[in-house]
Symmetry: C2
Subunit: 428 residues, 2 copies
């Protein structure tokens, strides 16, 4: 069967898909593909995770994921396994969704990618299609993946196997909804590779926009997308620091500046980081020898936790021995993901000062209960704008704490009758 036959096989939904990695990218993708009519094998090395998924339980918070997973399992079209060779052997299409973290010294860590490519190669790749869903440093497909796959297999990309970069661009927490709605950027090594993945994603939603480019174009498009957001968050944080310097409130000024203004989309200041935005820019910066806006933005966002702790220290004096309640540990609102979370950094800095830090995050089972952390704290830092946190003002005020620090500006200063109130970006 030539590769062109695979186009038809995918179009008709008869293809079998193997998704490598059942993380925050792979699991929602596998489940949605199964619910779109494909037979899907999801592979993960973590046997505990495989068992959990097989029982219909989501291993992380993602709206609608558990229901979609149960539907997929019930249809008999989705299966989770730790047996990568078995999964790959049956597949017409293999989707690689492994992480591409950043190692120290701005080194892109390709160990997970290499391991995944080994798995892909284990049962032969002739007449298969390989889709890369990870965030990749520009040139990775051309300079690393193609030489690797061709070198090990003796086959030719685009002729003997199809290959494309189709970067994930969902918002964590909205993965299921956005897999149906977002356009897909398909960077195939040739036309047949483009066609296979276009058909694959059109099965999810026939009206999904499919945008074709080169693998390198797709790598850059993903990075540009995330960097654009990350730099704008950093800019908002710079505005916050300026507003404080001039005795004003950045939250109020940004709201006024944006209000009904056609060129106003300045984001709100706050903690910016996490597993994607926090490192994607540096993945691009990797090969850049000048000080880019991205590197300055990274420096600025990474400095915010330290800036906040310093602001508190200047207000209350030494932090040694102080009881500090921190509300929120995830990298963003509504998430249980703590990878590269600025709130984790904030907690570590407070601990470094010798503070007794009590952490509550309603999305993280291994943190303390709210009642417990609010039992006689001296300082309360609300570091994540989790849903419902904005209704805690009275409870925090009644905890008897001397100071509340509101990172996201979710409270009205007037809500605090006893505690003194500080807000990031507010210099009055």
């Amino acid at each position: 069967m030539p590769l062109s036959d695979l186009v038809e096989r995918v179009r008709s939904g008869r293809a079998t898909i193997c998704v490598l990695g059942l993380g925050r990218i792979g699991l929602p993708l596998g489940v949605v593909l199964a619910n779109s009519g494909f037979s899907v094998v999801g592979v993960d090395i973590d046997r505990g995770r495989v068992a959990k998924v097989s029982e219909g339980r989501a291993p992380f918070k993602e709206e609608g994921l558990e229901a979609a997973l149960r539907k997929a399992l019930g249809s008999g079209r989705f299966e989770a396994t730790a047996d990568s060779r078995g999964g790959v052997a049956r597949a017409d299409v293999v989707m690689v969704t492994v992480g591409t973290p950043l190692a120290p010294q701005l080194l892109a860590d390709y160990s997970q990618l290499h391991a995944a490519l080994e798995e892909v190669l284990s049962e032969g790749i002739s007449m298969k299609a390989i889709g890369l869903r990870s965030t990749l440093f520009p040139g990775t497909v051309d300079n690393i993946v193609i030489p690797y796959l061709e070198g090990r297999s003796g086959l030719k990309a685009g002729e003997d196997f199809a290959l494309a970069m189709i970067p994930e661009r969902i918002l964590e927490g909205k993965a299921i909804e956005e897999l149906y709605s977002l356009p897909e950027i398909v960077g195939g090594v040739n036309d047949v590779s483009n066609a296979i993945f276009a058909e694959l994603f059109r099965r999810i939603n026939p009206r999904k926009a499919i945008l074709h480019t080169s693998p390198r174009g797709a790598e850059l498009a993903k990075l540009f997308t995330n960097i654009y957001r990350y730099v704008n968050f950093a800019l908002a944080n710079e505005f916050a620091i300026w507003a404080e310097m001039y005795g004003e409130d950045a939250h109020e000024i940004i709201e006024i500046a944006n209000y009904e203004y056609p060129r106003g989309r300045i984001p709100r200041p706050g903690l910016a980081g996490g597993p994607c935005l926090g490192k994607d820019g540096l993945l691009l910066d990797n090969n850049t020898t000048f000080s880019s806006i991205v590197s300055i933005a990274w420096k600025l966002n990474e400095a915010v936790p330290q800036y906040i702790v310093e602001s508190i220290r200047r207000r209350v004096g030494r932090l040694y021995g102080r009881r500090v309640a921190v509300l929120g540990l995830a990298f963003k609102a509504g998430s249980d993901d703590t990878r590269l979370s600025p709130s984790v950094k904030l907690v570590e800095i407070l601990k470094g000062h010798g503070a007794e830090v009590l952490v509550h995050d309603p999305y993280l089972a291994d943190t303390m209960a709210l009642d417990e952390v609010l039992r006689d704290p001296e300082i309360v830092v609300v570091s994540v704008n989790h849903p419902g946190f904005d209704r805690l003002a009275e409870r925090i005020d009644e905890s008897g704490c001397g100071l509340v620090y509101d990172v996201w500006g979710i409270f009205d200063p007037a809500d605090f009758k006893r505690a003194s109130y500080m807000r990031f970006g507010r210099g009055k």
Copy 2:
């Protein structure tokens, strides 16, 4: 008459307004205020400009301005004069619209502002309202304007005279339209000052959103608005440089990244500068001792003309003695404003290399005709995306030039049969 009476006088349209400065901010404002029912005296020190305006001719390009000016003159409610004392003497409200350029060494140049305040003071300010429409360094109203006005007059701001910062946020070229539609940020020194200027702008359009803040909040809101745009232009230019580095086309990638993507508003790369965006960030940076995103963005945008000349030089070799046609000199499309224009800088750099530079700009009468600059050029640089320039591909190709450099990506590379084609942000 207490200041509170002035609120009613303005609300009913019976107030007389003096606009100091008949430039790109002051003239449209004066004309629109006159057409909204006020008696308006526009003052400028440039007698030639006053004469021109009095004859109903706009001294610069601004869509709809000339028609609006003629209507205002015809109604008898608008008058232009060089007699500032006479204008100020009659006024209930004085609008200061003078420029606040940046002097060398990041020094905010307040000479025009000081001169304008002298004029405002010349006939007494008791029971008048003074509105500042210029872009001001944060703290200017509090630290410079109020002490100056109170010190010279012996009067008290907010009690004996009203004072507010109401920053202009129009897009040059759309000033008339946007004066009717944009929200106004009113940063008054007290409630009565806020009320007077809210009523003034509501006469232009009763549905105009009026956003109240402090003078300093208004100063910052204006700077945040412009810096947000300028930094995003710089980011697009950084993406352009990266795309070139990786052999891709930033224009294509940005289009793909934005397409139907809810978090995608990346601007297009190109020359970014001009009298507002090019210096407003530095006005804020003035008082900042760290390397801000703004200063990096400024450095990057300011480097683009040199980067383009270097790209051309690497392609064609030495530029000494080469005939280079440059199409476009204004700082942006559709404008005749060349202040701090990156295209002017581009021309100067080319001249510095010893090139023979021929400039055409259809918006600038003192540049050469298109036919003239396209008579046997060796290199054509299209530096501004003026309306209609995108239809010049064939004509440029037939000029016999060896190279066309398309700064804004307005041409299809396939349009050039003879000339070789380069585009900023395209590394292939």
